[in-house]
Amino acid sequence: MRLSRKTRLALRKAGRNAVLLCLAAIAMIYLIGPVYWMVSTSLMTEKEMFQVPPHWYPHDPSFHAYRAIFGFNPELVAEVNARGLQVQNIMPALWNSIKTSVFVAFATILIAIPAAYSFARLRFRLSLPLLMAYMMLRTVPSIVLVVPVFMVLRTIGLIDTTASLVLVYCTFTVPFSIWLLQSYFKTIPIELEEAAWVDGCGQLTAAIRIMLPLAVPGIVATFILAFMASWSEFLYAVTFTKTLNSQTVTVIASSFIGIEAARFDLVLAAGVLSSLPPFILALIVQRYIVAGFAAGSLKG
């Protein structure tokens, strides 16, 4: 039977849509899959976790791991400690992570805004070489810097403090923030500032009253990126912190895995908890992030 042209076109379109749908589903599984697995496994008992064949969802959901890391499950804590691991209350670590990340994000924004504005608007000889130098800073592997930075921090007495982490994290969040913000500032037409100058503003007033409000999406996106970069950092945190005075959630989560034993349910529960603050933050300001990336990175 010969199909009409209209039917053939409709079939072709349906086929194309089906392929696109499959690809989208694969991409979604790839992105959401690990998160689902983390959440679902964190609600399983250790026995269920290693079941063969594996369970795709917790058959008997339990919050035992969450209670343990918040210190409400002394039996499990004792059992795990007996295996040579050390279960610590995650609350101080969560607070340390929030404190460190918020400080880093604010410090980054405060330093990066004036720097980025200068690169975007002022003409000076070393503008490009300096920007390139900032880019180069990002290419140095963190591991190379651990020992020298440790020695510096020890000399100035900052080991095992939140301040040490804030200082160190800023060294990598500030350069990329300057890059991001300067390209965002460049997308804002210079005529707006010029109009403000003619209207009676100086350069600083025009920057504050005209540029800054218009750059809010870029600034928020930069803030989130700096927050997330410091939130998920592990290498420096594990090296420069020793106690719950300054240890962050990534360090505490890693302490549930030892050389001879591991409690994956605790690790995963800590993982879920540590994912929540950045997730909520990103959810609240998502429209700014999209606008920030669209104008700052892609167009700029």
Binding site: L192, W197, V198, D199, G200, C201, T205, L214
Partner: protein
């Protein structure tokens, strides 16, 4: 209000020289239009008046006060930008009030002045809207409103109508002109549109490659272009130009082109010894009888109807000439006609210096 005096102005970007020894005087309450092709330096000059571009050398004075090194905020000028440059995060009222607020004007006076300007420009009902909620013409009005609330010494306009459609542009042209009459202020207006320049200016400043080619009233510039550039830039369609040399025919001094087209010798003989460029506007080229003395034989190639007039393109020797006549049906495509430029409105330019010689 203010006079503007530009003296020996130089502007350089690195090795590139934009202006050399530019001089211009703008009288108090005058409407001066800077007109020229893209890249001629007219916007740069306007920006230098506003203080948005540094002056390499020379001075700019407002009412005898040297403002060359003053920041824009100290110059007491208002500027309307090509893309309006309205603050997107502020309402129309706040956009208009911004300059006043920056100058410490009281709230009561700001309100009164914004309301008055909005009334004049028909923006009263849009005061609480944001620029993105306005049409192109309304945005243009807000930009003008932002300028007029401040009652500055000098108003600067940088191609403010170029983003509007043709119909709106004509309306706004009249509006800007009436604004000038109402405010009785000094206006400097930049455009590349010669019709805009002709219709709005008290005086036109025709610019090319960073130099002022001619300054004068619109009709003066149109009727007596100072050189070949002005002659070809002002007027649409452009002036017909033919290279020719002084010669003698039947014992009379004439000007003759290489392909034999003959034109009367200019009354003023000075400077007519070398090569010349003969120019005449399409409107000054007429169809004549074959027997008319000096008649040029030509063949009709293209006929265009613009509505108000009919443009007839004819081939005379190796030259393509444009003739503008009152609107009429012209069916004689390919036919031979005799044409003759009006001797009273024929212009002569020195071929070497390109300057007017008669």
């Amino acid at each position: 209000m203010a006079t503007i005096e530009i003296s020996d102005l130089h502007k350089r970007y690195g090795a590139v020289e934009i202006f050399r020894n530019l001089n211009l005087h703008v009288q108090d309450k005058e409407f001066v239009v800077l007109v020229g092709p893209s890249g001629c330096g007219k916007s740069t000059l306007l920006r230098m008046l506003a203080g948005l571009e540094d002056v390499t050398d020379g001075t700019i004075s407002f009412d005898g006060t040297d403002v060359t090194d003053l920041k824009p905020k100290h110059r007491d000028v208002a500027m309307v930008f090509q893309n309006y440059a309205l603050y997107p995060h502020m309402s129309v009222a706040k956009n208009m009030a911004f300059g006043l607020r920056m100058r410490g004007v009281t709230n009561a006076e700001i309100e009164q002045r914004v309301a008055a300007a909005a009334g004049v420009l028909g923006l009263t009902e849009y005061l609480e809207r944001h620029p993105r909620e306005l049409s192109g013409g309304q945005r243009q009005r807000v930009a003008m409103g932002r300028a007029i609330v401040r009652t500055p010494q000098v108003f600067l306009f940088d191609e403010p109508l170029s983003n509007l459609d043709a119909l709106l542009r004509v309306d706004m042209r009249a509006e800007v002109k009436s604004l000038h009459q109402r405010l009785n202020a000094t206006f400097v207006y930049v455009t590349h549109d010669q019709v805009e320049a002709m219709t709005m200016a008290d005086r036109m400043v025709v610019m090319n490659n960073g130099t002022i080619e001619q300054v004068g009233a619109p009709l003066q510039v149109y009727d007596k272009p100072a050189n070949v550039f002005v002659a070809s830039f002002i007027g649409s369609p452009a002036m017909n130009m033919i290279r020719a040399k002084p010669s003698v025919a039947n014992g009379q001094k004439v000007i003759r082109s290489d392909d034999g087209l003959t034109f009367p010798h200019p009354k003023n003989n000075t400077g007519c010894e070398g090569g010349l460029i003969v120019g005449f506007r399409p409107r000054d080229l007429n169809v004549v009888d074959k027997d008319t003395s000096g008649a040029i034989e030509a063949k009709v190639e293209i006929v265009e109807h613009t509505g108000v007039e009919t443009l007839v393109y004819v081939r005379a020797g190796s030259h393509k000439l444009c003739m503008s006549i009152d609107k009429q049906e012209w069916s004689g495509l390919g036919e031979s006609v005799c044409v003759l430029p009006d001797p009273a409105n024929t212009h002569y330019f020195d071929e070497t210096t390109k300057q007017r010689v008669g």
